[in-house]
Symmetry: C2
Subunit: 596 residues, 2 copies
């Protein structure tokens, strides 16, 4: 997920970096539906811009992140809210045309309190798989250019529902509203477009047809070779509770754009965001002349275990998963052993190494914001902060370990001191495990031998009194307490770990991330040597590094088209958004050749 510029800019335009570089487009088959061919024209500019951005990895965004009426129009916010409220206590009928409905399911409860009472169409697995497989050939034969254009159209239709989505995500994940708008809306949409661009680029690497001419003594040997992109089969996307769209779209659109049918299995407590998404995609597919069963929703009741059944179904060849490490590890083993392509994002121990601080005020504010946003319930939120026991030099003088700890606590307190403002950053806690971690800091301190620098404070939400809202707590630990800090402690808990030296900090960073994984890492230092050593440690650990962040870019944010989310190089995730490896194994190429 992403918090890109939550506190940042609001005025920007889509701006594609131009590149001299392009791969020739495939021809659009005459057999493709007329409506789909029209979409190729309609979205050509967007596709070209996205392809250029994916190669340059510089700044590009198609979907404005500001929820301002100046961008989205007067009344858009209100209409979106009404659309969301229209779903409540009803059956979600937009998916009534799904092929395999055998009942209703759904018992979402907003982390802010209200029960959603929405009924979604439960699916019979065999009928669903048959429908998905039957939908593939026409989609496959439409070729990469048509698929990319239809995917852009689908994302645009999701985009048109961004305000409705913001409420849906807020009330399933507990994200504060503006974050829900940005991360689940435009940022997720940009990530979707990024996946489409990478998928198209990868498919274009093989031309649709070529004449091969080998010099010979007399006439050259000449062969015409046609290359057809074929999908792997049915792709499964398993959504998570906290970032149902942001973490699902990359796999969903990478699989769809490469010709696969996609079954989306949402988290039982975050169905609505993916139901809306699937509905929007199905409408785009249908209007483009394709079978909407290319993308279906397979919601389940809590505890039903549908993900396992779907993952092991022989028709399923590709799996994208975000969630806990236990099931993620099971998927990697079992589905990996069955030869399926499996892309997982699980958990890790995100790390900050503090050596010395060039801009103390900026660093403290930046870190406090990263800890606070969505109550630390991002897979990218820092958890372990290593600080030398002897303290750190800063632009405001030397600080002892305890002084640094206290100043960090004060920064968090300042940021979260006003309840009404704090809830707009914190959102609500998503489940009881998070809540018990937040409330159990004192107990953890006594069992692990640490000091509570800042306790997690319960905040009363002015609008939603039933929401459980907690500020980040900070626990100071000794480096010896590794049984505590080498586990992911998902939620508003930060460990400040006293080390013998920065060298030891970097060593612990390297070792813990290699063993337990991490989605993010950061370093603060005024020393070029230390920064170099930190870069090397990050390379060894296999995690991306943010250096001396002190402004409006945060370690827990990644920007589509530029920052990789995850690396695939440590146990936290076996893949990244988005590189060639994320898309290349989702399809194969079948050649037909003949003399010419």
């Amino acid at each position: 997920m992403s918090a890109e510029s939550h506190a940042g800019t609001y005025a920007h335009e889509a701006e594609a970096p131009r590149s001299p570089f392009s791969l020739p487009a495939h021809p659009v088959p005459e057999t493709a539906p007329t409506a789909a061919r029209d979409l190729v024209e309609k979205h050509r500019g967007t596709v070209d811009d996205a392809l250029a951005a994916a190669v340059s990895r510089s700044y590009y965004s198609r979907y404005p992140e500001s929820p301002s009426p100046r961008v989205y129009g007067e009344g858009a916010a209100e209409a979106g809210q009404q659309a969301f409220e229209g779903h409540l206590t009803r059956e979600f009928d937009e998916l009534d045309d799904q092929p395999a409905t055998d009942g209703r399911v759904g018992d979402e409860v907003s982390p802010f309190g209200p029960t959603l009472r929405i009924g979604y169409p439960h699916q019979d697995v065999e009928r669903l798989m048959t429908a998905a497989q039957d939908a593939i050939p026409a989609w496959r034969d439409a070729g990469p250019e048509v698929r990319a254009a239809v995917c852009v159209e689908a994302i645009d239709r999701i985009h048109a529902r961004s305000f409705e989505m913001a409420h849906a995500v807020m009330h399933t994940t507990g994200q504060p509203f503006v974050m829900a708008f940005q991360a689940a809306g435009p940022h997720a949409q940009d990530r979707a477009l990024e996946a489409v661009a990478y998928a198209l680029f990868e498919q274009r690497r093989v031309p649709a047809s070529v004449v091969w001419e080998k010099p010979a003594k007399g006439e050259p040997l000449r062969m015409t070779k046609d290359y057809r992109v074929v999908p792997r089969g049915v792709a499964l996307v398993i959504g998570c509770n906290t970032f149902p769209t942001w973490n699902s779209y990359p796999g969903l659109f990478a699989s769809l754009a490469t010709g696969n049918a996609v079954v989306v299995k949402p988290h039982p407590r975050a169905i609505l965001p993916l139901a809306i998404s699937v509905s929007a995609i199905r409408s785009a597919l249908r209007d483009a002349g394709f079978d909407p069963d290319l993308v279906t929703l397979a919601p389940e009741a809590d505890g039903e275990g549908l993900a396992k059944t779907l993952a092991l179904h022989p028709a399923v060849k590709v799996i994208d998963y975000t969630g806990g490490p236990t099931f993620g590890g099971w998927l990697e083993r079992e589905a990996g052993a069955a030869g399926k392509a499996v892309y997982t994002e699980k958990a890790g121990v995100n790390t900050v190494v503090v050596d010395s601080v060039p801009d103390l005020r900026g660093a403290l504010g930046n870190l406090a914001f990263s800890f606070t946003l969505y109550s630390g319930q991002m897979c990218t939120t820092p958890q372990n902060v290593y600080v030398p026991r002897a303290g750190v030099d800063t632009d405001e003088g030397h600080l002892s370990f305890d002084d640094f700890a206290d100043k960090l606590g004060q920064a968090v307190s300042r940021l979260t001191g006003d309840d009404a403002k704090a809830v707009e950053l914190l959102g609500a806690t998503v489940n009881d495990q998070v809540r018990s971690r937040a409330s159990g800091l004192a107990d953890l301190a006594s069992s692990a031998g640490g000091r509570v620098v800042l306790d997690s404070r319960a905040v009363t939400h002015p609008t939603y009194p039933d929401a459980v809202v907690r500020t980040p707590g900070i626990l100071a630990l000794d480096v010896a307490a590794e049984s505590t800090y080498t586990q992911e402690c998902f939620g508003p808990v930060v460990f400040l770990i006293a080390t013998d030296s920065t060298e030891q900090s970097l060593q612990r960073f390297r070792d813990t991330v290699r063993e337990h994984g991490a989605m993010t890492a950061a370093v603060y230092s005024t020393s070029d040597d230390v920064l170099d050593a930190a870069r090397d440690a990050a390379v060894d650990a296999g995690v991306a590094l943010s250096e001396n962040l002190n402004g409006q870019v945060f370690v827990n944010q990644t920007a589509a088209f530029s920052d990789f989310h995850g690396t695939g190089a440590n146990p936290a995730a076996n893949a990244t958004y988005t590189d060639g490896a994320f898309v290349a194994s989702r399809f194969r190429v079948i050649t037909a050749r003949r003399h010419s």
Copy 2:
């Protein structure tokens, strides 16, 4: 493997298709060894040509396939033969500097008769892995451009030993000499270069560094982002008996070019070709200023089971395998479950569908050659030929099933009638299973209810009287005898299968390949509708299709840079030479970003 133009042209020049398309090269680090930096200059043209060829997929070859003195120089053939003979009955001392030698191993016997009596340095696994891992950082930090150039240098050094290699491959695999020269020499070298080009292209997709600038209300947000390519770790290449170089180089060079260290585990009966290869690569690495332990040979005695030990070693992150389906399936399951990237080529039932024949004489000659080359011991040799029971229309009139069968048998007999000429196509049988299949055709006919159209004939080799040389046999079967023809019958055995109709032929083709896999497929038809149906069946089956071959291109040959070898879309192989998927998962990218 490949038999590209075994009977084809001899005069050609390297010719790179020019493309308007290129990805910017990465900078060459100043810290890279001077010798390595010089290689970047030396091989820039070759790298550019190979990159352009990989994008266009039209004809390109760097290494001339003709063993003529006009190409390779007077005396080259003789010098190569002497070099080969110099290895016999000796310890292979070129690898004496390998880091973990704990003994000698090797008991190769030429399929043509002679015992080689070469002793290779057996390796202690733990010491070998440590040495391989220690070699990685400098290679990693040299970057993609340096690695590509050093790889080209390594391939050039292998190329310089092509005649020596031809004898080494002939006397370990049983390939006839000219084929051994071409397939194990220049064709394998072109496949190696192709892997290097794909690997470099994939690494260039991510720039080495970028400035990301996001528009904001005031000053834009500006970040410098450095992207470092990091390898997965140690890569293992498991060679096969029949094509030790052609099938090993793609994985070896794809892994090496992406920064991994590579341990090469040759087949116990085909060590010498890979020993020579590893020695040439190590010399290139050493002279370029890198640790030669980046590539090591780990030979084993027959039955030692070293491949399993190596495959499960935690340092090994990437595995390339060619060989039988039992161990290949084990690798896919066990190493796949452990999260390693596993690329396999196993076995299948290569298929020809004969509907009608536009050029009977050309088709029969072409098929006869495909059956005959290397006694059918190519993983790409056709095995199952489906022909309608009612016979086929040809340009020479209608032929009954039996008439077609007999004419095919006669074509094989004509091609193999002269012993001295036949052995130059057949080579020698590689093992007892192949021999018993060849000699057991009559028994198989009686048990499966078929007719021996042409029995496999034992040929006396004029030079090597101990060689067991067999011509292809053809067994006519009914489509009902599927327990016989749905298994791979590796060696000089062809099944001619009588079907109810071409429709049934295509259905059997589709079903058997989906279930049992295939590396190749071909169709003969004068009907556009049938050809279209065959293309669709090939897409459904996930196998490449050759249509109406009647000249100097054969179904069992694939050309580097243009034809994919395997598809990854059926059980015969989970990967292909070479596409993006073959290289993209061999490395990861680690970002370091900071305000700028």
